[in-house]
């Protein structure tokens, strides 16, 4: 049998299928459907297949669909609810007369929405920046952490990262207290050099990217995490064959992204063993396209996107280069910057 190879054409077909219709098990994630959409669009973007996938009309239609999820002050006046919701699941947004309750954006789907819009070629001109920036002042907590929406008490570093990307893309940091955020990130760093979801919890690979990328975007990478050696050691020790997310756990496709991208942000991607990682990822790649989390698992859009980006970070030819702290291709981001200047 031939050794397994990387299968870009299969991945294109996989993301195209998912963009058209996700099977019913995804209904348990529909609250963050915009993030699922982002993984499909981002995957096709990295594969350079977006133009071949969408006609101009479809592209515009998708942009309009994303904007249809925007929660503005005209829809609800509850503080902290503005931005983009995950999908139309909680009802129409046009019925203020009867009062719309429980409709809220959240930082994770606002992050996914803005990145998706940029990938689709939009200039973010229809984003209600002021409302999002004001929402952030309500969501950020006195300890510097931030909750994703006003009905949540999940104050942690995942949403802090989303907030940083949102501020960066909107080019407005006035609703976000960076000094407190840096303080929060420092308090998330553990005795082992890793980063926890919130202070005191166990270090986790996903949070390492959230911390390093947030610091980079805030311009505080140099002083944010003083013990750089401990950080690097923790990251490098996460590689077995592929990467795992916590000490003594098994390898999982997504950590090749989370920890790998953190190392990219830190400027030390050269410290990983590409060949071993590649071998592992080829075992989680599926013949029908996509990646599962482990060798025997079905593919899903999150692991497929992250496995693909890991190949991009290793310099696989034909794949677009990613800006690790923003999680978007260089090309899409640069096009956006040019549009924004017009």
């Amino acid at each position: 049998m031939d050794p397994p190879t990387f299968l870009p054409k299969k991945h294109i077909a996989y993301f195209q299928r998912c963009l058209t219709l996700l099977p019913h098990p995804y209904q348990s994630e529909e609250s963050v459907r915009l993030s699922l959409a982002f993984f499909c669009l981002g995957g096709l973007d990295v594969l350079g297949a977006l133009d071949a996938t969408l006609t101009d009309d479809q592209r515009q239609g998708h942009i309009d669909w994303v904007y249809a999820q925007q929660v503005t002050p005209a829809i609800t006046t509850v503080p902290g609810t503005h931005g983009f919701r995950g999908g139309p699941f909680d009802g129409p947004l046009d019925d203020r007369v009867n009062g719309v309750n429980y409709v809220t954006a959240n930082l994770a789907t606002t992050y996914s929405a803005l990145l998706s819009l940029v990938i689709l070629g939009d200039d973010l001109a229809r984003v209600d920046r002021k409302a999002i920036v004001r929402s952030m002042t309500y969501l950020q907590q006195p300890n510097g952490g931030i909750v994703p929406h006003p009905y949540s008490a999940e104050c942690d570093i995942r949403f802090l990262y989303c907030a940083c990307v949102i501020c960066h893309l909107l080019d407005d940091w006035s609703g976000f207290d960076s000094d407190r955020a840096v303080e929060f990130i420092r308090r998330c760093q553990n005795y082992d050099g890793g980063i926890a979801t919130s202070p005191g919890e166990e270090s986790h690979g996903g949070m390492m990217l959230c911390a390093t990328a947030s610091l980079k975007l805030m311009g505080r990478l140099a002083d944010g995490l003083p013990d750089r050696v401990a950080v690097l050691r923790w990251c490098i020790d996460r590689q077995n064959q592929g990467f795992h997310g916590r000490i003594n756990k098994t390898d999982d496709t997504c950590y090749s992204f989370w920890v790998g991208a953190a190392l990219k942000v830190l400027g030390h991607y050269d410290l990983i063993d590409d060949n071993r990682q590649r071998e592992f990822l080829l075992t989680t790649q599926r013949h029908i396209g996509g990646f599962g989390k482990a060798p025997t698992e079905y593919p899903d859009v999150l692991h497929s996107y992250m496995g693909l980006v890991a190949f991009s970070m290793m310099g696989e030819s034909g794949l677009a280069e990613i800006i690790p702290e923003l999680n978007i291709s260089k090309e899409s981001y640069q096009k956006f910057l040019v549009k924004r200047c017009v």
Partner: protein
């Protein structure tokens, strides 16, 4: 209040007769539409109809339960559920029993554990919680939601007594359980039963980790613990 069988579609249940369901409007160019099951589509159609009116009723409570069983991460349904519970003055112990059952099927749901925090805050009584968490950790000793919740209970109600013993039991079961090692650090540095800075505590912790290193020299957890 008694409801008709959960197995009947909502449209055939008498208590829902007065509600006009609102189907989802996904527009002309939906991105990544989901092929919902009939059952989920229907409960969401009714959810859209009553949540926007903020109907705080027993049938709404029942509806949120049906939704989160299918979609455990449905944060809007959880937020709605909490408001209904408060408004109806439901016995919160009943809610805890429901959450126990729910956690067995969905132990890794962020919303579940945060909802549980809110209930415990309202009850202001953590009795029984440590046993519930221990049961979940018996199933999956590295469930970080459960460990995170455990830290919250310990801190809020100052239940540090006995935690080191529990951690030692967990590490005796699996010396490579890094979640338990992290919990040990948490208790030693933040708990009120030990003084972290004292030489005696430091020496005890170093001795403990060295002993565990001898058991399995390539186990990363006690090495980083000792260094930390």
């Amino acid at each position: 209040m008694q409801f008709e069988s959960d197995d009947l579609p909502l449209s055939q249940r008498a208590e829902w007769k007065d509600v006009t369901p609102i189907p989802q409007d996904d527009g002309l160019h939906p991105i990544a539409p989901i092929s919902y099951t009939k059952e989920y589509s229907e409960v969401m159609d009714y959810f859209r109809a009553i949540s926007r009116q903020k109907e705080l009723s027993p049938r709404a409570l029942q509806l949120t339960e049906e939704i989160i069983w299918i979609n455990p991460g449905h944060y809007t349904a959880w937020a709605y559920r909490l408001d209904i519970l408060k408004h109806l003055n439901v016995d919160l112990r009943t809610e805890l029993t429901f959450l126990d059952e729910f956690a067995e099927e969905n132990p890794k749901t962020y919303q579940l554990w945060h909802h549980r925090r809110e209930i415990i805050k309202l009850l202001d009584d953590p009795s029984g919680e440590m046993a519930v968490i221990a049961k979940i950790l018996q199933e999956d000793s590295k469930n970080f939601h459960a460990w995170s919740y455990r830290q919250w209970i310990l801190t809020r109600f100052q239940l540090w007594e006995g935690e080191l013993t529990y951690i030692e039991l967990m590490l005796d079961q699996d010396v490579r359980n890094n979640s338990a090692w992290n919990q040990r650090y948490f208790v030693v540095t933040r708990g009120n039963t030990v003084t972290p800075d004292s030489g005696a505590t430091l020496q005890r912790e170093i001795d403990y980790s060295l002993a565990k290193i001898r058991l399995a020299p390539n186990n990363e957890s006690p090495w980083v613990y000792c260094r930390g």
